[in-house]
């Protein structure tokens, strides 16, 4: 599905932010990328999404080089309040990307309503985004990505700006949505627990410049639960391992997969 080969990026003459990143995501996988704050996670996502051209290396989606945003890719940004358009109702926000799918107005509205139902917000359709709580706004952003019907979804710290309870709800929503749609998802987070809880794989980045430090398989059962999954020994072990990798206490020669 997605292949990132030898990707490096530097802003101007500054030291590189990304250094020789190799990454592969297979169809239907949910891969978490975790790393210390400011390690260049967002830059990596922007390069993968085609929003930014890397200084070196290549990104391929379905074998095709990514030089602009592919039309089977959606992005959910962290800053939902800026990413949703305040002059449009929730329904219009969700229906907006469907214009590219060459659907008529009635179809767009219908698809938007379905997407809103799938995130549990059918009643908010006529409201404006700024009338909703942060968690609800991010649900709208997810609904918009779903309505677009992409095969690949990129999420840039999507739950970074909401409270802990909402965050757990949104994580479960993400797992449910992914179970229903079979989308391939790449999720960037700085939350170690989250990376393990939602991921099939966790890719750990090191800081300055970002390199892939480890690529770990999450062997947890597919059906996950906020309480029981988090108390499984495998979960506890894995999050400790990821935690050490992120904080850099483990030797840097951790095997790459």
């Amino acid at each position: 599905m997605l292949e990132v080969a030898n990707l490096s990026h530097a802003y101007g003459d500054a030291p590189p932010v990304l250094s020789s990143i190799d990454l592969e995501v297979r169809p239907g996988e949910l891969v978490s990328i975790v790393g210390p704050s400011g390690c260049g996670k967002s830059t990596l996502l922007r390069c993968i999404a085609g929003l930014q051209a890397p200084t070196a290396g290549q990104v391929r989606l379905d074998g095709k080089p990514v030089d602009r945003v592919p039309d089977n890719l959606a992005v959910v940004f962290q800053d939902y309040s800026r990413s949703l358009f305040p002059w449009m109702s929730v329904r219009d926000n969700v229906a907006l990307p469907l214009r590219r799918r060459r659907k008529n107005r009635a179809q767009r509205q219908e698809n938007a309503m379905k997407a809103l139902e799938s995130v549990g917000l059918p009643d908010a359709a006529a409201k404006y985004p700024w009338q909703l709580s942060g968690g609800m706004q991010q649900r709208v952003a997810i609904a918009r990505a779903l309505a677009y019907g992409p095969e690949f979804m990129i999420m840039d710290e999507p739950f970074g700006s909401v409270d802990a309870q909402t965050r757990e709800d949104l994580e479960d929503l993400l797992l449910r949505v992914r179970g229903n749609s079979g989308m391939t998802i790449l999720l960037v987070t700085h939350d170690i627990d989250e990376s393990v809880y939602v991921g099939d794989r966790v890719v750990v980045l090191s800081k300055g410049p970002a390199r892939v430090r480890a690529d770990l398989w999450v062997g947890l059962p597919t059906a996950r639960d906020q309480i029981t999954t988090r108390e499984l020994p495998e979960f506890v072990h894995l999050r400790a391992e990821v935690g050490r990798l992120v904080r850099g206490r483990e030797a840097a020669d951790e095997p790459k997969s």
Binding site: L51, V69, F77, D79, P97, W130
Partner: protein, 292 residues
Amino acid sequence: MTAITGDHPAERPTGTNGRRRRPTGVPGLRILTGGAARLWLVALLVGCWEIIARTKQDAYFPPPSTIVRVFHELWFSGPATHLFLTDKALDDFQPSFVNLFCGWALAAVVGLALGILLGRSSVAREILDPVLQFGRAVPPPTLIPFFIVVFDFGAQMQISTIAFGVIWPVLLNTADGVRTVEKLQLETAEVFGITGAARLFRITLPAAAPKIFAGLRVSLGFALILMVISELIGSTTGIGAHLISSQQGMELPEMWAGIVLLGILGCLFNAVFALVERRFLSWHSRARGLDS
């Protein structure tokens, strides 16, 4: 380039406590009731003027009651079928209004188009910035002699004067609004394949709308000023021409009536514009009201 944001209602939270979800009642009605509460000072001043003018009997300062009577006689004592407008009212108002709105609309269309271009292209901005700064700095009435040479006296000259004079706030505010659209909003549009005209009309212009409206509002005020000036200098019709002819005939109450009329028109245009702005920018004021 700096933009005029100004202190206009769209930037203030609606509702009295700023936390209301919806402004209650009809906005126009609230303007009227809000205005009535503050009118006592106006009434007091007018009352004082009336008393002083009647005691002094100064020809230059007729009492307000005389001005109101003349005002009514001149323009609003016509038949009901003409909405009480007199023939003189039609003769005076029509050319003034046509010039005002043609000039303003022309400035709005051209200013918007050039502003979008400047906002989108940093190259255009760098090349044109000195020209724009100079153009903006030229006091608009100084162009009247030039337009008289080019167009002779008449509507064309007046419309050109108004359009050239009031284009700057629209142009500069549009450029600023378009240039400062949130990067994330544009990237979101890019991700979802909203490009070209769809991006312009659904993302860029709505995002810039608060600044564009602020520019349009300032322009409308300038347009009224330039309308009068252009009529004072080179016209035989319109409200400005009425002022000049009553001044030359030493008809002071008639002249004062014209001044009052222009004041009322200024308020009226502003109020109508505020209503339109509320209609289009309610999302903006309401979102800000909730955020703050």
